[in-house]
Symmetry: C2
Subunit: 325 residues, 2 copies
């Protein structure tokens, strides 16, 4: 079967013109593992990159059950109604393995996906978290080049992917439920501390008062952590749209301020450099663990360390010497 | 000048007999960078290791001003009075550079240092955090072999060293001040979440009520974070000894329980394996960054990534290929 062949120039033109089909095709190209595709992908990237960077990049997380898709859909529609062009991407390294993955199904955001000013793309499937994140970064560049000015990057709320997404967005929003009890137990350690803002979802009807109480508690709890700036906590409802306006104000104030001061640019550059080193580290470890001469020694060293017979420092040195030698 | 020469057998015997001078000498040997010393050090390690592991390893942190030395001194004396043998170690990678380093001066714990059942050792100076931590781990083994049954590992409360210390202790205690305001701003993000217990220090005299209020606030704040077990918050005073008994009860209950269930052993094994991989990673990055063929390319790649001309993934691949090639 002949491989589908892409035309770099046509794709670049299409994306820059805001053609959604070309945008989708470009992202598929970026995700391809085919070597010939990867060469075209590099060309397309080079063509698009100078036109990227113009969006607010917003990471959104929250445990399953918090109403993430519903929230993103109504916030997305709200933004589109206010004149924005909204792209929704996702980072979900589990998406191939588990059925509980996010955005496997566009129909979960049916209203938003019907809007011309919106673009929804499920998580690239398979591969490491690093791989999925890399594809999502590339998709972000394409979406920005296509003129989307708000990029929502959704993540799963359980595991390492939050830290990764935090490293590729300007602002990180944590969705929480009212009621500080068992429902919250799913929030992984450290995720609360990544948040630039918290929204208490499902703040409607009888739940409203509970949500307001939760808001105050969270605000108090967050004041215990040292941050560059205050972390606002808002209540929001996807049902009646309450709180979406406050959220938009928070975001646009943040964006305007950080853009004017240069902090946005500075943070993005730092994210790129951090990302470079993270990839180098990941690549080094991968090459190390796959090196045949290392493989044959690893089990022995690990067993020795576990039994307390070999010191970690000694084992590490032996492994490193074997790798380099 | 001839190098001081160590006798492994004599040192092992001395340490196992609980001789404090031999213990101090052994730790100095472990810290030596002299190659001949390092060989003797390995022998001594092998002799001591089977006798290690019998202590509760307690990490203690808190920002400067929280009264860390004073707290450790009174808690140390309290434990010694209750029949324990207490060793105080420190992890402070800044100790060579800054004057604000911890435990540069034993006289700060004068009362404790005069007790025969106590042993105080300043942070090994110089080197990376990894290096300092490795030396402290080794010192811990020696102290345990010498019969100390409580090891207090002090750390600075600002930076990466907390995570490192968390990875080498059984229990991590965070010292905090009453008053949730500016004084707390020094607590780095993520440190609160490492704590297995929090102690509000200087809870005496007029400060008592304030400390009790802070205790409740912290307890509330901590309930927002998902943990395997509840994180107790106590008030304590180095002045009148208040709260030291509750703290001892918390620690001994924890130790007894985790020892009986096997959780202690399991956690320590995992810490050793994690440590092994952290050292491998650190070593790989070090070798990578020092490889001449990489060095010549790094600046170019970093500059390109910063300017947005080269993608981090592309730069990482180029650097990795240069390293392996």
């Amino acid at each position: 079967m002949p491989t589908y062949s892409y035309n770099a120039t046509r794709l670049i033109q299409g994306v820059l013109a805001g053609n959604r089909r070309d945008l989708a095709r470009t992202i598929t190209l970026f995700e391809s593992r085919n070597l010939a595709h990867q060469e075209v992908a590099s060309d397309v990237m080079r063509g698009l990159a100078p036109h990227a960077g113009g969006a607010l990049r917003l990471g959104i997380t929250g445990v399953p059950g918090v109403g993430k898709s519903t929230f993103i859909e109504s916030f997305g529609i709200y933004l589109v109604d206010r004149g924005h062009r909204v792209a929704v991407l996702a980072v979900d390294p589990s998406s191939r393995l588990s059925r509980g993955s996010i955005m496997g199904d566009k129909t979960r955001m049916e209203g938003l996906s019907r809007r011309d000013e919106a673009f929804i793309r499920p998580s690239p499937s398979g591969g490491t978290l690093g791989g999925v994140a890399a594809r999502t970064r590339e998709a972000m560049v394409a979406c920005e080049a296509a003129g989307f000015d708000v990029i929502l990057v959704e993540t799963v709320g359980v595991g390492q992917s939050e830290t990764t997404v935090k490293g590729m967005v300007d602002f990180f929003l944590l969705l929480m439920l009212a009621g500080a009890g068992d429902e919250l137990q799913g929030i992984k350690r450290g995720i609360m501390e990544l948040a630039d803002a918290v929204a208490i979802t499902k703040s409607d009807g009888e739940n409203r008062e509970l949500a307001e109480r939760a808001r105050k508690s969270y605000e108090n709890a967050l004041s215990f952590f040292s941050r560059d700036r205050k972390v606002p906590v808002v209540t929001a409802s996807a049902l009646d749209g309450k709180g979406l306006d406050s959220l938009e104000t928070i975001l646009s104030d943040f964006y305007t301020e950080d853009k004017a001061s240069g902090a946005l640019e500075h943070r993005r550059k730092k994210q790129q450099i951090d990302w470079l080193w993270a990839l180098v580290e990941e690549g080094l470890m991968e090459r190390f663990k796959q090196a045949p001469k290392v493989v044959s020694l690893v089990d022995e060293m690990v067993a020795g360390v576990e039994k307390g017979e070999i010191f970690p420092g000694h084992a590490a040195r032996k492994l490193l010497d074997r790798f380099s030698g």
